[in-house]
Symmetry: C2
Subunit: 461 residues, 2 copies
Amino acid sequence: MSNPYQYAKANQERFLDEYQELLRIRTISTQPQHAKDVARAAEWLKAMMLRIGMDRAEVILMPAGRCPLVLGEWDGAGEGAPTILIYCHYDVQPAEVADGWDTEPFEPTLKDGRLYCRGAVDSKLHVMSNLKAVESWLASDVKPNVNIKMVLEGEEESGSENINAFIAAHPERLAADIAMISDGAILAPDQPSLTYGLRGVTAFELHVSAPVSDLHSGHWGGSVHNPIQALCEILAQLHDENGAVAVPGFYDDVAEVTAQDRALLEEVEPYLQAEWDAVVSAPALWGERDYILPERLGARPTLEINGIHGGYTGAGMKTVLPARAFAKITCRLVPRQDPARVLDCIVEHIKSITPKTVQVDFQFGGMGAEAVLLDVEGLAMQSAAEAYAYAWGVEPVFERAGGSVPITFECMKVAKEVVIMSYGLKSGRAHGPNENIYLQNFYNGIQATIKFIDLVGQGRP
Amino acid sequence: MSNPYQYAKANQERFLDEYQELLRIRTISTQPQHAKDVARAAEWLKAMMLRIGMDRAEVILMPAGRCPLVLGEWDGAGEGAPTILIYCHYDVQPAEVADGWDTEPFEPTLKDGRLYCRGAVDSKLHVMSNLKAVESWLASDVKPNVNIKMVLEGEEESGSENINAFIAAHPERLAADIAMISDGAILAPDQPSLTYGLRGVTAFELHVSAPVSDLHSGHWGGSVHNPIQALCEILAQLHDENGAVAVPGFYDDVAEVTAQDRALLEEVEPYLQAEWDAVVSAPALWGERDYILPERLGARPTLEINGIHGGYTGAGMKTVLPARAFAKITCRLVPRQDPARVLDCIVEHIKSITPKTVQVDFQFGGMGAEAVLLDVEGLAMQSAAEAYAYAWGVEPVFERAGGSVPITFECMKVAKEVVIMSYGLKSGRAHGPNENIYLQNFYNGIQATIKFIDLVGQGRP
């Protein structure tokens, strides 16, 4: 074959077969009974890496013995050439027909141009798009001008407990000029998008207590500050009437939205608004008034109550005045916010507004991740943009994602530049029943990765 | 035997044996597997009624076939004499050693002057005190000047679903001049108390929803009004900074605390404060500033959040932005407040403060009971006061209870006067592990009921 683009197109049918073969393996990392499926997939991926011509491939067991990493390397471009690290994960969320699937969740089913299967979009799509792009390069007459590392994680869906430690212990194994994180979704089938910012996160629990034990609300109601009420009173003071977080110091270090951000994000707004209408569909939009939707979702920090519980919540009535109530809270953070400092501000504020009739306690899960802002002008991002334009025929838009992709932060430690390339769709029901992709996105993704490798190897655009 | 007081004292040992025999029957009305125990106790009580000389006794099956009423009558005082209706319940709450009992929960255990057993205070104490008082009258040379009806309920602990309908369908069966409800607790072993007011109750659930389904809080946080937050914001607006309910109209019909109330309740205050310190033990007292503790607990209405739930409340973190959250709320009501009108005020207020970013829904359990205020100056209450003074050697104080005793309201439909006579102690751990009584209270209770029958028969004080 003369070039990788042609090779990929000529082999689409086989690529789809192999993709489906991987989809059938139940790589559910959260369920110990599937540990051997995960291990089997790891061996399958290692064999695939060797078969497509990578120089080395290894299944690296993690400390718990389950859900290994698969690491492959091809260094045929030589010592002077740049190195691309491609990250994907091959484990998936659980899935049962009873969850609402119209088909067998682990049997790939093609229908109306879509492929339905658990893992179809999250994230075996990315595993296979990239493996097949590398294969297309290594099988063609021209070879890439970049060395390639691929790391396939096996426990992304169960908390990525071990990969960070592995990277920290062996930074040289993953060291690269450019790390390409391949996971996630683009805005629409015909509108690719590139994420240049990710929010960080920090978490805590707030516990409010008053009486020493649960009381009869008839006997004691009116004489004791109900912990549920006190908790609500505290939580109600954490936002102002404009939807902003009302914690002194919370916004102190926030990197303001720039004119460039506004210009980029205004392009995304109609897509996000359409998605909001379809997915959220709340009675009305809410949030910080001075910011457009993509900014509220990606460029502004939040304080979100993820859970609350107190007293009796079963059927019927129980006239209890509970001893305690609690809420689970996370904050999404933006660049320059330090998770620990944000928590300090919140704790200080809550203590200052807590009435003397109740006691508050905090629990910290130790979880904290800083926000990430990637360089839109760099070689990696510009190459990715051109790769999308080539594969989709449409220029991508740039967005800032509301969630966190913790591996991004880790990759920034071992690579000079990081880019996130997603081939799934937000409407692909990742984690839900009837997970699916537009099959064309699989083929587009292969072309995009081929082009990305091409452009990085040429040191342009 | 010459008189009932002496008879009761002479038979204390046997009375205790019989009380313990009843305690051993597991009359757990909430657990269907104990239906036959409840039925056995009903037959035991019917036989006891006939043995002690009542004219008639009947086990009356309830519609569900479980947990019958036991109804006994003695009309030896003749047609012109007044009739006393004595109400007690013989069913109990569940109990397991694993709940924290130091002894077998259904094996009566005497220790340091206390008798430990499930039902010891709630309410076989009252069943047996009254049966043995009636026996003492019927076995003595002098006979009571009152006709006596006793109704023993078998499903008070499981919701009293059927007794109201029975009373409504057969008002003549329970018709009386004075209904004596024998249940509950006095203030201290050496301080009897009479409850002259009971709060009413009404209940509802408030549901707040915004997005159509649970969302990823990273992806959508900042653009949608979190239903937990909105619920907290609404609930935080239901009280003002002085601990009063901030719902327009809520206090409109409230019967104000009178000078007589204040004088009576000031006597109770030290006992209640001591109990608050021991049982509630919150960081500080809370509630309406202008009212003393016994008023807050008995004479003022409340709005209490009994339960709240939304989002993820398990271990670890789940970054969910939930579709909905809800709270379970009850109001304790005081005389002249209409449960339906109070609910209307609350619903109207909540709707008026609900932002357009969320939707609220209400669920009503159909539960509503008006408050009760009993006549302190009437024959029943004054006879009860003198009966306590005779049996305990101490004048009782008058209190208003925070809880509801729904049967009171029903009894007011069939009796001219209602009085509540309690022989248990608030520290007797009703519903909890190691439920117990001061054994002396059992003997005092028998004497008090004998005296009460005596005084009502004499038409004095």
